[in-house]
Symmetry: C2
Subunit: 658 residues, 2 copies
Amino acid sequence: MDLAILSLMAGLSALGFATYSTWSILKKEPGTPHMRGISDAIREGAQAYLHEQLKTITIIVAVLTIILAVVLGAFIATAFVLGALCSTLAGYVGMKIAVRANVRTAYAARTGLNEALHVAFRGGAVTGMMVVGLGLLGICLLYLIGVNPSQIVGFGFGASLIALLARVGGGIYTKAADVGADLVGKVEKGIPEDDPRNPAVIADLVGDNVGDVAGMGSDLFESYVGTILAAMLIGMEEYGKDGVVFPLLLQATGIFSTIVGILSVRPSEGSNPQSAINRGMFTAGLLTTILTYFLAQQTFGKPNVFYAALTGIATAITLGLLTQYYTSSDRPSVQTIAKSSQTGPAITILTGLAMGMRSVALPILVVCGAIFLAFEFAELYGIAIAAMGMLSVTGMIVTVDSFGSIVDNAGGIVEMSGLGPKVREITDALDSVGNTTKAICKGFAIGSAGLAAMALFSAFRSAANLEVISITDTRFLIGLFIGGAIVFLFSAYCLEAVGIGAFQMVEEVRRQFREIPNLMEGGAKPDYARCVDISTRRALKSLMAPGLWAIITPIAIGFTLGAKAVAGLLAGSIVSAFVLALLMAHAGTAWDNAKKFIEAGHFGGKGTPTHAAAVVGDTIGDPFKDTAGPSLDILMKLMSIISVLFATLFIKYLLLPY
Amino acid sequence: MDLAILSLMAGLSALGFATYSTWSILKKEPGTPHMRGISDAIREGAQAYLHEQLKTITIIVAVLTIILAVVLGAFIATAFVLGALCSTLAGYVGMKIAVRANVRTAYAARTGLNEALHVAFRGGAVTGMMVVGLGLLGICLLYLIGVNPSQIVGFGFGASLIALLARVGGGIYTKAADVGADLVGKVEKGIPEDDPRNPAVIADLVGDNVGDVAGMGSDLFESYVGTILAAMLIGMEEYGKDGVVFPLLLQATGIFSTIVGILSVRPSEGSNPQSAINRGMFTAGLLTTILTYFLAQQTFGKPNVFYAALTGIATAITLGLLTQYYTSSDRPSVQTIAKSSQTGPAITILTGLAMGMRSVALPILVVCGAIFLAFEFAELYGIAIAAMGMLSVTGMIVTVDSFGSIVDNAGGIVEMSGLGPKVREITDALDSVGNTTKAICKGFAIGSAGLAAMALFSAFRSAANLEVISITDTRFLIGLFIGGAIVFLFSAYCLEAVGIGAFQMVEEVRRQFREIPNLMEGGAKPDYARCVDISTRRALKSLMAPGLWAIITPIAIGFTLGAKAVAGLLAGSIVSAFVLALLMAHAGTAWDNAKKFIEAGHFGGKGTPTHAAAVVGDTIGDPFKDTAGPSLDILMKLMSIISVLFATLFIKYLLLPY
């Protein structure tokens, strides 16, 4: 019997657990009619956007499927479609549940923290389990019916492409709305977050779902799949069949551990919700570590691969702690930014940028150390396994991340339906738990992306038969430069789209406050739909270009300058994207928390010029941390996967031979 | 007779021309007593700062000289000291003349544009001729007394080190003052640029001299020297003695052409001053191109090296045009930023960052094209020669750049001494010429730095005997990541220092406006000295750390992980620094010009919230374009030069052997 069957079953169990969690949420009370009305508006907006996005994506996928089928054969094309489908499904189903869990969490918050945490956490678990279940199931299915790992890469391509488009589109949607809502609402009008008088508030809440739930789900789906594939490819080369099946089994233990971890999140009334979630993460992490040890011993007869996985786990924890250090409001970075806000937005931004730039050094040293150790333990396979170690509890990470978005939304519904400050306090407490964990998860996502991209990079090397390159090879160097440039060009598209969207949103919100009588006094309802429409149109208009650049660049370079240039392109883009993603995640979160630190009453608190300056910082950080930053994680892997797929063709059909 | 004698004579001629220009300036009228008072304050502030900076630098140079003498021998140590000395001298003398030329330009502006342009341009020529004269003279002397090119690299190390410290120190000084002056003066108080009531105005004017004249002089001195050295090193390997002497002769023709070019700048009253300067640049460029052709034919018997130089010249022009496209106020980038300012500073900054990120793609494509062509024409030597082609009229570039700073200062003196709007109009006209040309020069400096760094990188390869590297060599990849990180860490130090300095400056200027009675009404004099003091202390405190990181990183990596990791470090840092330098130069200038575009009356003009938002953008752009950005050009070459010097030692004394 092929052991991969076990992994298939683990994937099915995950989907079963997701179904069970869905059922346990849907049986909860969906709230008062007023709350349901708000929730319905959010749900409809989110679904309407996702359907439109799906149309755009379908066109791109269809064109690419035809090209892949003709150029690379039916297996790869089929795997591609399956990957795209699973990725879409993971994000879509997760969001469908999240928009139902939010109102139920809000309603449950009336009876207490425990109940609210339970509902929100189970809601998050649906996305978490969908992501890992579909990911492992898809790969195992392809593997068991006999598709070669180098063809299963097509599955990864599908997943990466959807992830990129969903992250970029969702990120633009949510941040155009968020920035627009904050700039007029908080800075100009001085009304609180999620105030129902703000015309952009529904768009903002919709954005949380399409960006932070659906986009994030597809994003981590691709991290999960990409990492497994990288390990399978290198494993096949270095250890044969054992090397291919081991990653699958490793993730099966991860799913098992995650389910145990999720079930262990049972807060007792009065205790800190953070510690309940920490317990769940710790349980999952410990269990998977122990199981990995036995699995590695069993498969390879020696623990060196386990050490590589352990390196990955240790790296993930260290990166998480570093992220917390650079972004927590009780640490110097955030406090320096908050302090600098006293002299206005310019110094706030300069200081935040400087902090963000400075914060990349230690994480990179940690990742370099991980690369060094993992390679010592098990060569290139060790690097891929270290990435897997980082992502062994992906299910848990996604669960916690979606949990954060659900409580964020629940807080919005509480505010808008006027359930009162007591209930809001509960959702706020849960929200702050969500924010801390989100920041840590970002560290995970970037770190694993860096290692996975490096593993894919070495898979490309063997696919393209590039043993060695002269370091001053001009084609390699040209590729390196273009790799650096494409990362910045890609980020430019993301920031620009948010800038334009937010500009239109600000103009629209200002217009409504000006033209709708009694809006500010609460006597009239704003026109939410127009703001939803602005975000939708901007996201759909702007998600295409960065996606196309990511696909076309490696192919164009490969066919003109050859595999050496592509190697440079990948190396240059991985380094630039990694550094920039860290900068953006840290600076964005630090600005956000500096603003919250001031809102908590420091340096004069809300309503002061200092607070206004901090809001400007937060606003710039928004597309950093939620649009461009996370998309860069995907970009580096997407370009690597495309290069692996086309490697042999680059050699056959080279336009400018050396 | 060694042909290098000719180059020595060219270097001497340049110094002679600088002396003549100095004499022709000093005989001009130094203005009214009031003007002289202002000018004296600027001069004293600038000299006091440079003396303090010199003390700090002397300590670093002394320590390094001892280390170099012990580790690498007396020749390299001597060359190092000489390089440091010449670089300091080039910046120092240039500044000494500039602070005298500024008041004379201001006074001459009373009689008309022609006279003012003449004085300012000759003032600029002093720095220009000092830079190329000392550079060529120093290298030729060392070469003629028999020092080996691989030891003359020590001269380049000295030049680079001083350049880095002077750029960072001067950049922090000038931008802390500039940002502080603008944020309170323009945004909070609504008084114009250079208003004598602003307590930071003298510090701002001093900053223009220590940053934009002295710092820029040392900076371009190192570009000039570094490029010649790279060409000599590769030339020695590929063509023997001819390959070494050719770069020296090439720069001799450049000096000759530049002198002719400078003499041809003779504006006629009523004509556009820009066209007079363009004529000078065009004359110099054309003359040097023709001479290079004959020189290359004479030396190598075929024109391929000339084609490489021509590639460099064409690249320089294209980069200049691209820079103009991305930063001119009649082009879409700047106008989009100006338009976005209507919704406040947040969108201004997002849009500017996006424009800056987008603007790196085309210049990088152009440079990649240049690398490809130059390599086709004359292999690696071609790349070094292309860099020389770009810098063949360095003397002209420095002249025009210093000219810009002198007229900027002259405008300040006119404003402060109340010479009236007619005179200010003339200095403003000259200032706008200076700004356009400055932006183009930045494109030159970055482009040539990229090519020169690549040439030095390949010199490192042969010094370290690294023919080929596996592209997935973990040490190379680790180096690549650290290379990316160090560039961001370095930039963080620069931005942070400006942020802190500006913060203190804002607090001090606010305090003076609050506590000195009648200051705003013009009835009292502000305490200029305290602002000068803040800038001085901040710059001296902050210039050390980035300098040390730049020196220590390659050495530490080299002795622990070896030459392969250093190769990665250089590749990673060159790519990151190049991209980031372009981004910063373009975004910084675009924000500046967007502000000027609004000040010219668009979108409501001065005093509106739109203008305030644009000033915030400009303020963030200031340290981008004048502190961190230009320092990155130097960083990439400094790290390469250090690596070349220590290459053999990395192999001998490796801590963690493979």
